[in-house]
C-alpha cells in the first residue's frame, strides 16, 4: 500500500514546534519530525510517550547484578573454593567491585542494544532518509495525507508558520 506524505521544510526549530503543536490541536496526527538535533520539548509537542527504556535498563541491571553474583559464588565458593590463609571462601565485600562492573556493563550494552533495535538502527542499514539536509540545517514535518481535507488544513498550518517549501512524497510499503 502506498502512503502519501506532505512535508513542510523549515530552517529553524521554533516554528516547527509551533506548527507541530498547532497540528495536534487541530487533531492532525504528525507522522514524524526530522531534525539535525534533538529539539527540547518536541516529544511533548508531538505527544510522544515517555520511552520505557529506563525500565529496560533497570531490568538489565538486575540481570547483570544477579549474573555477576551467581557467577562469583558458583566459581569461588561452590566449584573451587580457594584457601587463602584459612579465610572463608565467601568474602562478601570482595564481590562488590566485580558485581558493580558487570551490572554497569550489562545494563549499558543491553539498553543500547534495545535502543538500536526499537529504533531500527544497525550497521549498514539503509535509513529511510527523507532529505539529506535534515542532518545539516533543515527541519521537516511529515504528515500522512489520508484525504483532501487533511491535506488542505495541513498545508495551511505549515505555511502559516513560514515553511520554506512544501512537498509531497509517496512511499511504497
Amino acid at each position: 500500500m502506498s502512503k502519501n506524505f506532505l512535508l513542510g521544510v523549515y530552517d529553524d526549530e521554533q516554528p516547527v514546534l509551533k506548527a507541530v503543536n498547532e497540528l495536534r490541536i487541530k487533531g492532525i496526527r504528525v507522522y514524524d519530525v526530522y531534525s539535525p538535533f534533538a529539539i527540547h520539548g518536541m516529544d511533548d509537542a508531538m505527544g510522544i510517550k515517555r520511552t520505557r527504556l529506563t525500565v529496560a535498563a533497570f531490568i538489565y541491571g538486575v540481570i547483570g547484578c544477579t549474573l555477576a553474583l551467581s557467577m562469583m559464588i558458583y566459581m569461588n565458593i561452590f566449584d573451587w573454593p580457594i584457601n587463602i590463609g584459612g579465610k572463608p571462601a565467601f568474602m562478601g565485600p570482595d564481590f562488590i567491585p566485580v558485581t558493580f562492573e558487570l551490572t554497569v556493563l550489562i545494563t549499558a550494552l543491553g539498553m543500547v542494544g534495545t535502543f538500536l533495535y526499537v529504533s531500527r538502527l544497525a550497521p549498514g542499514i539503509e535509513g529511510n532518509l527523507i532529505d539529506p539536509r535534515v542532518t545539516n540545517d533543515r527541519f521537516i514535518i511529515a504528515v500522512e495525507i489520508k484525504n483532501e481535507e487533511i491535506r488542505r488544513k495541513t498545508e495551511d498550518i505549515l505555511k502559516s508558520y513560514g515553511s520554506l517549501e512544501i512537498r509531497e512524497r509517496v512511499t511504497e510499503k
Binding site: G41, T54, G86, K87, P88, I96
Partner: protein, 484 residues
C-alpha cells in the same frame, strides 16, 4: 510545561507566634524526654552498679595495660588476636563463635572504656552519654548549617542558575552557625568525658595514665591547640556566612552585577577555607573520639554524610514553606534536581563508606580494625546494617524513578527517613567510642527534638528577615523558568 511570562512577586516569610510556640513546645517536649532519658540512664546505672561496674572495671584492668599502654608491637599482637576473627567468623564452629563473641564484646568494652575509664575519669556512663548527645546533635545541625553556606558558594562558583530562586533557604541555615559555636563552647566542660586524650597525664611519661600512642599525637591533640582550632573553624565559617549573606542582601537593594561577581570570588575563597576547616572539624570533633584509630578518608566521609543531610534539610524547609503557600515558583523541576542530588550523594556517601570499610576489612590490620570491631561485629552490629539500609539501599531504590524525585509528597518520605539516617550515621560514629555498650535512644531522641526546635527557631527567624527570593540575582530568570 507551559508557563507564562512571569509576573513575579517578591515574597516574605512571616515568623508568626503560632509557629514560634510550636517550636518552643518542641524544645520543651524534647528536653523533658531527654531529662527522662538522663534520669533512666542514671537510675539504671546506679541500680545495677555493683554487678555492672565490677564487670567493666575488671575488663578494663585485664585488657588495658597490655593493649594500650605497653609498647606498640605487643598491643598489635593483642588486638590482632581479637580481631582476626573479623573475617573468620563464618567458618568457625559454634564454640569458636561464642569465643569470638566474648572476645569481641571485650574488645568492644575495652576500646570504649579504655578511653573513658582508664583516664582517671571514672565519670558515670550516663554523663558520658549526655555529653555525647550534645556533641552528636551539635555536629548534626552545625553540619546542616555549614552545608547551607557551602551549597550557596558552590552554586556561585559553578555558575549554576537553577537553584537561585530557592537559594535563600540554604543560605539561612548559616544563621545557625553562631548558635552552633555557643553550643560547642557549652560542650567544653564535658569534653573530657568524650575525648580520652583530654584526660590528665595521658601524654606524661611515668604518669599512671600515660599512653604512648596518644602522647605521640599530643602535638596536635592538646587542649590549647584544640580550642584555637575550634575558634578558627567557627571564625572562618561565621565570617564567610556573614559576608556572603551581606552581599546577597545588598544585591537585593542595589541590583546590578557587582555583588554577584563579588560573591563568586568570596565563594571561591570560602570553598578552599571550607576544605581545611571541615577536615579539622572532622578530625577534632569526631575522629579523635577513637583516639588510637585513624583513617585518611574520614573527613571525606564526614563531608559526604553532611551533604546528604543538608540537601534533606533544604527539601524539608521548601516543603514546609510551600505548605504555607510560599515559594510556589519552586516547582517539580527544582525538586527533581534536589532529588537527584539526594540520590547522587547517597550513592557518593555509600561509595566513601565502602572505600573506608573495604580497605580496612581487606588489609585487616589491628590498628585499623579496632574501629569496626564494636560496630561490625559487636554490640552495634544491627545498627551498622540498619545504617547501610537506610542511607543507601532505601534512597537508591526509592529515588530511582523520575516521579519519586519530582513530587514533594514522595520527597517528604525520603526527607524523614534520611534525616534520621544520617543522624544514625553520626550516632554510630560517636557512641561506640564514648559509651561503649551502654547506648540507648530515649535521651537521644529527646535531645534531637530539642535541637530541631532550636534550629527551627534560628532558621525561621533568618528566613523572615529577608525576601524569600534574591530578586536581583542575574540568573533568577533562568531559575524561575527552570525546566528539565
Amino acid at each position: 510545561m507551559a508557563h507564562h511570562p512571569t509576573e513575579f512577586k517578591v515574597e516574605h516569610f512571616t515568623f508568626d507566634d503560632k509557629l514560634r510556640k510550636t517550636l518552643i513546645t518542641l524544645i520543651v517536649v524534647g528536653l523533658v524526654i531527654a531529662g527522662l532519658g538522663v534520669f533512666m540512664a542514671w537510675k539504671g546505672e546506679n541500680a545495677g552498679h555493683d554487678s555492672h561496674g565490677e564487670h567493666h572495671s575488671s575488663v578494663v584492668e585485664q585488657n588495658i595495660p597490655s593493649a594500650l599502654t605497653s609498647n606498640e608491637t605487643e598491643s598489635k599482637a593483642e588486638v590482632a588476636g581479637e580481631t582476626e576473627k573479623l573475617q573468620g567468623e563464618q567458618t568457625t564452629d559454634s564454640a569458636t563463635v561464642q569465643a569470638t563473641e566474648t572476645h569481641v564484646a571485650e574488645a568492644n568494652t575495652h576500646s570504649a572504656h579504655a578511653e573513658g575509664h582508664e583516664g582517671g575519669h571514672h565519670g558515670p556512663i550516663w554523663l558520658k552519654r549526655f555529653w555525647a548527645n550534645i556533641l552528636l546533635n551539635n555536629f548534626y545541625f552545625i553540619g546542616i548549617a555549614i552545608f547551607g553556606v557551602f551549597f550557596v558558594a558552590v552554586q556561585y562558583v559553578a555558575n549554576a542558575g537553577w537553584a537561585v530562586s530557592l537559594k535563600r533557604v540554604p543560605e539561612s541555615f548559616g544563621s545557625f552557625l553562631p548558635v552552633g559555636f555557643v553550643l560547642m563552647l557549652l560542650l567544653i566542660p564535658g569534653m573530657h568525658h568524650i575525648y580520652h586524650w583530654m584526660a590528665e597525664g595521658v601524654s606524661e611519661v611515668g604518669h599512671p595514665n600515660y599512653d604512648k600512642i596518644i602522647a605521640g599525637k599530643s602535638g596536635y591533640l592538646n587542649m590549647p591547640f584544640f580550642l584555637i582550632r575550634l575558634a578558627l573553624i567557627f571564625g572562618i565559617w561565621i565570617l564567610f556566612y556573614t559576608i556572603m549573606r551581606k552581599l546577597s542582601l545588598k544585591e537585593d537593594e542595589e541590583g546590578g552585577t557587582k555583588n554577584y561577581y563579588k560573591s563568586i570570588r568570596t565563594s571561591a575563597i570560602f570553598i578552599i577555607c571550607f576544605a581545611f576547616t571541615l577536615m579539622m572539624a572532622a578530625w577534632d570533633w569526631l575522629m579523635s573520639i577513637d583516639v588510637h584509630w585513624f583513617s585518611t578518608i574520614y573527613w571525606v566521609y564526614t563531608f559526604a554524610g553532611l551533604f546528604v543531610s543538608g540537601f534533606v534539610a533544604t527539601v524539608f524547609f521548601l516543603i514546609f514553606l510551600q505548605g504555607r503557600g510560599l515559594m510556589q515558583h519552586v516547582n517539580e523541576n527544582h525538586f527533581h534536581d534536589l532529588g537527584k542530588f539526594i540520590f547522587g550523594f547517597s550513592i557518593f556517601w555509600t561509595y566513601i563508606w565502602v572505600s573506608q570499610f573495604l580497605l580496612i576489612w581487606y588489609a585487616n590490620i589491628p590498628e585499623e580494625t579496632l574501629y569496626y570491631v564494636p560496630r561490625f561485629l559487636g554490640h552495634y552490629k544491627v545498627l551498622f546494617f540498619v545504617n547501610l539500609f537506610i542511607n543507601f539501599l532505601f534512597p537508591f531504590l526509592y529515588l530511582m524513578t523520575r516521579n519519586a524525585k519530582r513530587a514533594s509528597n514522595s520527597l517528604s518520605t525520603i526527607v524523614l527517613v534520611l534525616a534520621f539516617g544520617h543522624w544514625l550515621d553520626l550516632y554510630l560514629m560517636i557512641m561506640p567510642g564514648v559509651v561503649g555498650e551502654n547506648n540507648g535512644f530515649l535521651m537521644e531522641i529527646g535531645f534531637f527534638l530539642a535541637y530541631l526546635g532550636i534550629f527551627g527557631l534560628v532558621v525561621f527567624k533568618a528566613l523572615s528577615k529577608a525576601p524569600l527570593v534574591p530578586k536581583n540575582h542575574p540568573m533568577l530568570d533562568e531559575s524561575l523558568h527552570h525546566h528539565i
